[in-house]
């Protein structure tokens, strides 16, 4: 739902790095986004196409890697991956303990970009 402000931030950071590195053209931007986020890949690309017109990043492709939800067990302290669809029923596969603390799954990072 908030792809627009997120995409504005992405473009700002991309252009900052492009200028600092004397880039002619940005080809691809690789993002890492946690599975807990509901961002729609398609909308990020569409907003990016729109916002980047006339900049070094015009026409760049956005690649999104989804990082898993990782929980730490409140019982045995082991960590394990869990699916978004089963978040109402988190059970440690090692000890059967219920619930856990979220370790990752909320990432919003620009990893790298391919440039000319």
């Amino acid at each position: 739902m908030h792809e627009l402000p997120i995409t504005e931030s992405i473009l700002k950071i991309v252009l900052k790095h492009a200028e600092a590195n004397g880039v002619r053209k940005v080809k691809t931007v690789h993002l890492k986004i946690g599975r807990l986020s509901d961002l729609e890949d398609e909308w990020i690309q569409r907003y990016f196409n729109y916002l980047s017109k006339g900049t070094l990043a015009e026409g760049a492709k956005i690649g999104i890697e989804r990082t898993p939800i990782v929980m730490r067990c409140n019982g045995c302290s082991g960590s394990y991956e869990w699916e978004l669809a089963k978040m109402d029923d988190v059970i440690c596969p090692a000890c059967g303990g219920k619930g856990g603390t979220l370790l990752s799954g909320r990432e919003y990072t620009i990893k790298e970009m391919e440039v000319e």
Binding site: H2, P5, I6, K12, M87, D88, R106, M113, E116
Partner: protein, 223 residues
């Protein structure tokens, strides 16, 4: 000639600007001994009703200020201001959440040195506000009984970022199949450190527990 393609490592948080601004808000309000609380829920769960109860419950104790976010109206801010509480209305211009830059404008408009507590009524929505740090010291959400006990499944992030969950409209419990024990279990599985209080802004049930929680947080903040 083919231009060479290079790889640039960026490794930057997309929301780093917002996180930085949020950190500045927290420090600024801490220096002023003002606790900032971010109140989130679906539309109509009872945020404004809770604020009105809170104004009543805090009379003569904590000095309260309110920042209202609303897509396009001033109705909620007017209700609060009518009770003599400093209130700022932020127009989010169709945005689905408040970010730290908008909250900064709200704080600039309040005389925070004269306030012990500022409550932000965030935009009614369980998705977007959970993703954006507003600079608040505490996050509180309201879930109302008519919304159902399955919401932790649909909005896990919201439940995992909050310090307190208020289950509102418990006067509806007898009319619905809402399962409070199941809700508690689901919420605590996502967030074991969250506190859960059951309230009704209509009957006033549980409101004194909420006021006690607020006073406790504010007192702990002031030491």
């Amino acid at each position: 000639m083919m231009a060479g393609i290079r790889l640039i490592e960026v490794k930057e948080e997309i929301l780093s600007d917002n996180t930085k601004t949020a950190g500045q808000i927290r420090e600024r309000l801490r220096a002023a001994n003002t606790l900032l609380l971010n109140l989130m829920s679906s539309p109509g769960s009872g945020k404004t009703s809770l604020l009105l109860r809170t104004i009543e419950g805090l009379k003569g104790s904590l000095r309260l200020g309110v920042i209202e976010a609303d897509i396009d109206s001033v109705v909620d801010a007017e209700k609060v201001a009518a009770r003599g509480i400093p209130a700022v209305q932020l127009r989010t211009g169709g945005f689905c959440h408040l970010d730290a830059a908008m909250v900064t404008r709200g704080i600039d408009a309040l005389d925070i040195d004269k306030l012990d507590l500022v409550v932000i009524e965030n935009v009614g929505n369980l998705v977007c506000p959970a993703e954006f740090d507003t600079g608040a010291h505490r996050n509180v959400m309201i879930l109302s009984v008519p919304e159902g006990d399955d919401k932790p499944l649909k909005y896990p992030l919201m439940f995992s970022v909050c310090d307190l969950l208020l289950v509102n409209k418990i006067d509806f419990l007898s009319l619905s199949d809402f399962n409070m024990a199941l809700l508690r279990e689901r919420v605590l599985a996502l967030n074991p450190r969250i506190k859960i209080l059951e309230i009704s802004c209509k009957t006033g049930a549980g409101i004194e527990d909420w006021i006690a929680w607020l006073k406790g947080e504010a007192a702990g903040f002031n030491v």
